[in-house]
């Protein structure tokens, strides 16, 4: 009996270990990287518009005043007490507060601060594109930490969650897929045709982190009276500073207030718990989408809903996302096109792999044609424009299309004249 329970305990331990530290597809991390770095970039652009107000010595929070915010937290290790004035177990020598990562901490010159801020913006752009991802994601994470430490008084919970997710991503191999790094590797023939399996602990940490957000917010809310009494939804509805779009008047009355109040608690608690139960996951996440969709519509809390909903992707394994793309591909057969290369040319195998990687829904097929020019036909055998047609259908190529002529150049460079010579860029 005892050995049975020991074996069972060991099995549970192995399951937990396998869940946290198992290997799998990095696709979810790759997509999350794109979402979070684009949202970070948007937040940075918004911050840039009021840069002087928030990050300079002429602003609302000069560096010295920011220091006053942090100095309230002493640079001590304490055990056995948390009362203020109690003797510390250990005091950092020479420091009044806990040291922290803040590259803006001594940039009194606003031009230098602005330059560093722009570096962080570039890092966000590079991370989104997945170019030099290992370095750019670390620079982005350190930059966002520094910006948040420079002025923590203008942050909402979405900003905090974004910072944490970017930190986890910086530790993760999030650039091995859905990235320019991968496309360049495929193009050069140095990357494997299938993205390598990676340890999923960063993804699990993000899942845990998101669940922790929801669990703790429910706990904090349960400590108050308004949430228990079913009236909490009434107050934000009447805070004019949050107002964005109107809702029908009846929603401001009982029993709808109680429905909104208790409904919020139920959905948030589900997002902390039931979301890990696979059969319920989809419904829980849909409920979360509905709740945050309402908040986004009703209240002016920029980026909050988008950031938290953007993290939902990590509740799906990379393999599930790939399977979904394959199923979607089958539903989209009528949108497929066949691109015919000029006669006597074909795609280099490396270019073929890179182009396939850019086309997750498998909507474009490339083969050798009989004409002297590039041609394309859709499933109904109607003629299509080859370069535009292939670009629109290759989701991963959309950013490339932002640079005029680059996509066409890539395709023509990828073509190989039978016999070994590359086709001219003019096709």
């Amino acid at each position: 009996m005892k050995s049975d329970s020991t074996a069972e305990g060991w099995n549970v331990f192995k399951d937990v270990d396998s869940w946290w530290f198992g290997y799998g597809s990095p696709v979810a991390l790759g997509i999350l990287r794109i979402i979070m770095s684009l949202l970070a970039l948007e937040g940075l652009v918004i911050g840039l518009l009021d840069f002087e107000a928030w990050y300079t010595e002429k602003g609302f929070l000069p560096i010295k005043v920011d220091y006053e915010y942090w100095i309230r937290i002493p640079a001590t290790f304490q055990f056995g007490t948390h009362a203020s004035g109690a003797p510390a177990f250990y005091q950092f020598p020479g420091l009044a507060t806990v040291p922290r990562i803040n590259f803006f901490g001594s940039l009194y010159d606003s031009r230098l601060a602005l330059a560093l801020y722009l570096v962080v913006m570039i890092a966000a752009l590079l991370t989104a594109a997945g170019l030099w991802t290992r370095v750019s994601s670390i620079v982005l994470a350190l930059g966002i930490i520094s910006i948040h430490h420079r002025n923590p008084l203008i942050l909402h919970s979405g900003d905090t969650l974004m910072r944490l997710v970017l930190m986890y991503l910086a530790f993760s191999p999030c650039g091995v897929t859905c990235s320019l790094d991968r496309l360049i590797g495929l193009w050069k023939g140095t990357a494997p045709s299938v993205p390598p399996r990676v340890s999923l602990w960063p993804q699990r940490l993000i899942q845990y982190q998101v669940a922790l957000v929801y669990f703790m917010t429910v706990w904090y809310k349960w400590l108050g009276t308004d949430w228990k009494n079913g009236v909490a939804a009434w107050f934000p509805e009447n805070l004019h500073e949050f107002y964005r779009f109107p809702v029908p008047e009846f929603t401001h009355h009982q029993p709808f207030l109680a429905l909104a109040t208790y409904g919020t608690l139920v959905v948030e608690l589900s997002l902390a718990t039931l979301v890990f139960h696979r059969p319920l996951r989809k419904y829980v996440l849909l409920a979360g989408l509905a709740m945050h969709g309402y908040i986004e519509y009703r209240f002016n809390i920029p980026l909050f809903a988008t950031i938290i909903v953007g993290t939902y992707i990590v509740f799906f394994d990379g393999e599930e996302i790939t399977d979904w793309a394959n199923r979607t591909s089958k539903r989209l057969t009528r949108f497929r096109i066949r691109v015919r290369l000029p006669v006597g040319t074909r795609l280099r195998p490396e270019a073929q792999q890179a182009l396939t990687a850019m086309d997750p829904f498998k909507l474009v097929a490339y083969d050798t044609g009989v004409d002297v020019e590039w041609k394309a036909w859709n499933a109904q055998e109607h003629s299509k424009r080859p370069f535009i047609g292939a670009w629109i259908r290759s989701v991963g190529a959309w950013p490339i299309g932002l640079v005029p002529g680059l996509w066409k150049r890539l395709l023509t460079r990828g073509a190989l004249v039978d016999g070994g010579l590359g086709a001219s860029p003019d096709g």
């Binding site: 290790f77 806990v98 008084l153 107050f235 500073e241 207030l257």
Partner: protein, 237 residues
């Protein structure tokens, strides 16, 4: 007859590279400690009665008290603050704010002219503007209550007005406009009243959907800080 593959003899087939799919114990320990640290950091503080020992409290109170005493303010605090893993998830909690509030300021210039400074107020801005300027609202949440922020706030206002008017400011008065949002019938009372009305057979519209108390028609005004940009000295009012 096909020969058995010696590589398969000792166990199940493993995918290419699967042997390398192992995470070191160091990483596992670090991840485990990190999970403990962030969980401890975000847990609520115990009530004063429990933390001071005058009340034992419930099991969760005791957990919170233990966490606050022995875990949260230990190296956990240093770790989360140093690295940027600090966090707090008390959105609209424990109770949502019930005070509708916004600030503005009166600035006296050297010539004696008094200029009104309108701090960006979300309600008065367009959709695009309020999306961009929302951080002003968030900042005032702190600047309203944290007195150490009064002087830099007033100094910034003086700077902006001076930049706009081309004339030095000699006095800044910060003012808050606010009202308390009255509470509504709680759900317990609502369901009690409804049940009673059902029993009496007198279910009316006001029982089904009770009217809410009216919001105050105007905001209260309060000058809360005065500042002299020339001397850099200020005073709470």
């Amino acid at each position: 007859m096909q020969k058995s593959n010696p590589k398969l003899a000792s166990g199940p087939h493993k995918a290419k590279g699967e042997d390398r799919e192992k995470v070191s114990w160091f990483v596992k320990v670090v991840v485990g400690l990190h999970v403990v640290a962030i969980t401890s950091w975000v847990m609520p503080d115990p009530s004063t009665a429990v933390s001071s020992g005058t009340k034992l409290g419930t099991v969760s109170d005791r957990i919170l008290n233990f966490n606050a005493k022995y875990v949260k303010h230990s190296p956990v605090q240093t770790y989360v603050l140093c690295t940027g893993f600090w966090q707090s998830w008390d959105m609209f909690a424990p109770n949502p704010s019930s005070v509708d509030i916004y600030p503005d300021a009166e600035v006296t210039l050297k010539s004696g002219r008094v200029v009104h400074y309108a701090y960006p107020r979300m309600y008065a801005l367009s959709l695009v503007e309020k999306y961009q300027k929302e951080r002003y609202r968030k900042f005032f949440e702190h600047a309203n209550t944290d007195t150490y922020l009064y002087p830099p706030f007033a100094k910034r206002v003086a700077y902006l007005v001076q930049k706009e008017s081309g004339e030095p400011a000699v006095k800044v008065v910060l003012r808050r406009h606010w009202y308390q949002i009255p509470s509504v019938t709680d759900f317990g009372d609502y369901s009690g009243n409804l049940w009673e009305a059902i029993l009496k057979g007198k279910v009316t519209e006001s029982v089904l959907m009770p009217p809410n108390p009216p919001l105050p028609p105007t905001y209260n005004e309060f000058d809360y800080y005065t500042y002299n940009p020339l001397t850099g000295k200020g005073k709470s009012l």
